[in-house]
């Protein structure tokens, strides 16, 4: 039975949370505003079939940028996610390319059957961009999409992308359009960190890319955890730990060949880091790849635990659940002892 929590110690200082627009950018980090919205506007200029659709979250998914530029190509479906995805299927059946937005929890949980049946099964060309992936809201489990990747990658026909930063999102948007068929993208919104422009990196659908090499540890990561992995690699180099980072933005189809090849290089601890429950996401997908390929290496997972996560301030929660920079560093060091 559910019991309520003990009362907090009122004498201690506390961090507070911003409900929906807490930034994942750390202080002083370079960011870019609304990369998805601006990239979609850019795409739509040359693709007249692109339309925007949302379920009362245009402002919170950066679709408002598109809506302002193309009001007559924007469809507000109200706070009705089942309708949103059913209607997107119908729109796609008439030859349009809907970019639909809501929060990841509502797409993956509330509207799952609508996406499964009207979009994936019918193989409609609908693009689904979902804000607040994994633990990027301190609002509580209602808005924490800890399991969205597991749900979406289990769906036949669905392509699943978990981009790292603003630089990548700008490239993912046209790549989604170039791919014929349904795509689910985890959306980082608002002031989005800018990281990968410092690396020699191009997004390619279905490709994992080695961002840096290292002899001791291989971190395989997606989404914002690639940013953490790169920061952790820098921090760990001070301790003479040499960390490689393999970025896997496409969760499905998974680049099994690159993953097996990189993980198969001997002598390294393999750590999969994801902003997602350890159940059914990148970690277990990689484990499956390695088992099938006969790659036997020390293997660890960094990810959200299989529990309903707390409400609170994001930095607190990222620490608590092990996906903050300091926790990634601490855990990797611990495993190397």
């Amino acid at each position: 039975m559910k019991s309520t929590r003990p009362a907090p110690d009122l004498s201690k200082p506390r961090l507070t949370t911003s409900a929906m627009i807490a930034s994942i950018a750390s202080e002083g980090q370079r960011t870019k505003p609304a990369p998805f919205g601006h990239a979609l506007v850019e795409l739509a200029r040359s693709r007249p079939e692109v339309v925007g659709m949302t379920a009362d979250l245009g402002k919170y998914t950066d679709l408002h940028i598109f809506a302002k530029e193309f009001p007559d190509r924007t469809y507000q479906m109200g706070m009705a996610e089942q309708l949103l995805f059913g209607a997107a299927s119908g729109m796609a059946a008439e030859g349009f390319m809907p970019f639909t937005t809501t929060y990841a929890v509502f797409a993956s949980r509330r509207a799952y059957d609508f996406i499964h049946q009207t979009i994936a099964e019918e193989d409609r060309n609908v693009k689904i961009a979902c804000a607040l992936p994994g633990l990027t809201s301190g609002y509580g489990p209602s808005h924490q999409a800890a399991e969205d990747l597991a749900l979406m990658r289990a769906m036949p026909n669905m392509t699943v992308i978990d981009p790292c930063d603003a630089y990548e999102i700008e490239q993912v948007v046209p790549a989604m359009a170039a791919h014929q068929g349904p795509v689910y993208m985890r959306l980082l919104r608002g002031q989005v960190p800018l990281v990968l422009d410092e690396y020699d990196y191009r997004f390619e659908l279905g490709k994992a890319k080695l961002l840096r090499d290292g002899r001791d540890v291989l971190i395989i990561s997606s989404g914002l955890m690639t940013m953490r992995a790169l920061e952790a690699a820098k921090a760990l180099s001070d301790d003479r730990v040499d960390v490689a980072v393999l970025h896997v933005p496409t969760i499905k189809p998974l680049d099994a060949e690159t993953i097996a090849r990189e993980a198969g290089r001997p002598g390294r601890l393999v750590v999969v880091a994801e902003n997602h429950t350890v159940i059914g996401g990148l970690g277990e997908a990689v484990a499956g790849v390695l088992m099938r390929a006969g790659v036997h290496v020390p293997f660890r997972q960094i990810g959200l635990p299989d529990e309903f996560l707390d409400a609170g301030a994001l930095p607190t929660l990222h620490d608590r659940y092990g996906i903050s920079l300091s926790e990634v560093v601490r855990r990797v060091k611990g495993w190397l002892k």
Partner: protein
């Protein structure tokens, strides 16, 4: 001599079309030894009026851009729609005997990727009207004059998504949408009005901003008139036809059978049902 005049004079009447649809459905039920045959029989008049009076399509080109779209939301009515698609010449009659068997294009529940003329994958109930809203919006974007017909069942009125779609269709003034709800008052657990009451349905739909007509769905003249009115109604509203129907219509011993969502037809009864239908052949 084959002239337009003689072809028109020899064209089957709507009553004959409805009979043929019922007969096709019974033949498929006989192949499988099962099927939602009572629903197929109740909706055959609506399908006859839709395919042979109201709708625009080309049998030889089911994806013709100018066609009217027909969405089957209640996918378990596929046996009825296949029967109509066969009668319309969209699906070859020879495939009738494959119904529900391996590698058939006529699976028991309607799916878009299997069957020519099948516009959506139903089965999971309450999907059709949401898709119809997107289709209606898309057609308007293209300045198309095609219409979206969506057949769904009274049981689907239990699904919240149906009402999401009903709200949005009137919000967007989708006058190119014609919904048909089959009120046969039967769903999986019993009479629909007892499972979850939906009356007064006309008032409710009107309150949501739809142009609503309620007709005897087994009265061909009434159904034809309802489609005509739905197509020509001047207000910028989506249109709904509430069709009260009789499960098993056209086969007296099935009409009288104890009402169940999935009525039992014994193996020897399929031929008897066809014979009973033939006895009333128009």
């Amino acid at each position: 001599m084959d002239t337009v005049a003689t072809r028109l004079a020899n064209a089957p009447t709507l009553a004959q079309r409805a009979y043929n649809i019922r007969r096709n459905a019974l033949r498929m039920g006989k192949v499988q030894g099962q099927g939602y045959i009572a629903q197929a029989l109740d909706i055959s008049d609506v399908l006859a009026a839709a395919y042979f009076h109201a709708m625009r399509y080309r049998p030889e080109d089911p994806a013709w851009e100018e066609r009217d779209r027909f969405l089957l939301s209640n996918g378990h009515y596929a046996i009825a729609l296949y029967a109509a698609l066969i009668e319309a010449g969209i699906v070859p009659e020879a495939e009738l005997e494959t119904y529900g068997s391996d590698d058939s294009r006529l699976p028991m529940s309607g799916m878009a990727s299997y069957t020519p003329g099948m516009e959506m994958s139903g089965g999971s109930l309450g999907l059709g009207l949401s898709i119809a809203v997107g289709r209606g919006l898309g057609l308007k974007r293209k300045a198309s004059t095609s219409r979206v017909y969506t057949l769904f069942s009274d049981g689907e009125l239990d699904e919240g998504s149906v009402w999401e779609a009903i709200s949005s269709a009137s919000h967007y003034k989708l006058d190119n949408l014609i919904g048909i709800v089959d009120v046969n008052n039967q769903q999986a657990d019993g009479p629909s009005t007892q499972v979850m009451g939906f009356e007064p349905l006309v008032d409710r739909l009107q309150a949501f901003g739809w142009f609503v007509q309620r007709v005897d769905g087994n009265d061909l003249d009434a159904v034809v008139a309802a489609f005509d009115a739905a197509k020509t109604h001047p207000e910028p509203k989506p249109r709904m036809i509430v069709a009260d129907t009789l499960m098993g219509k056209g086969v007296p011993f099935l009409e009288q059978r104890e009402k169940n969502h999935f009525i039992r037809v014994e193996p020897h009864e399929w031929q008897l049902a066809i014979a009973a239908l033939d006895a009333g052949r128009p």
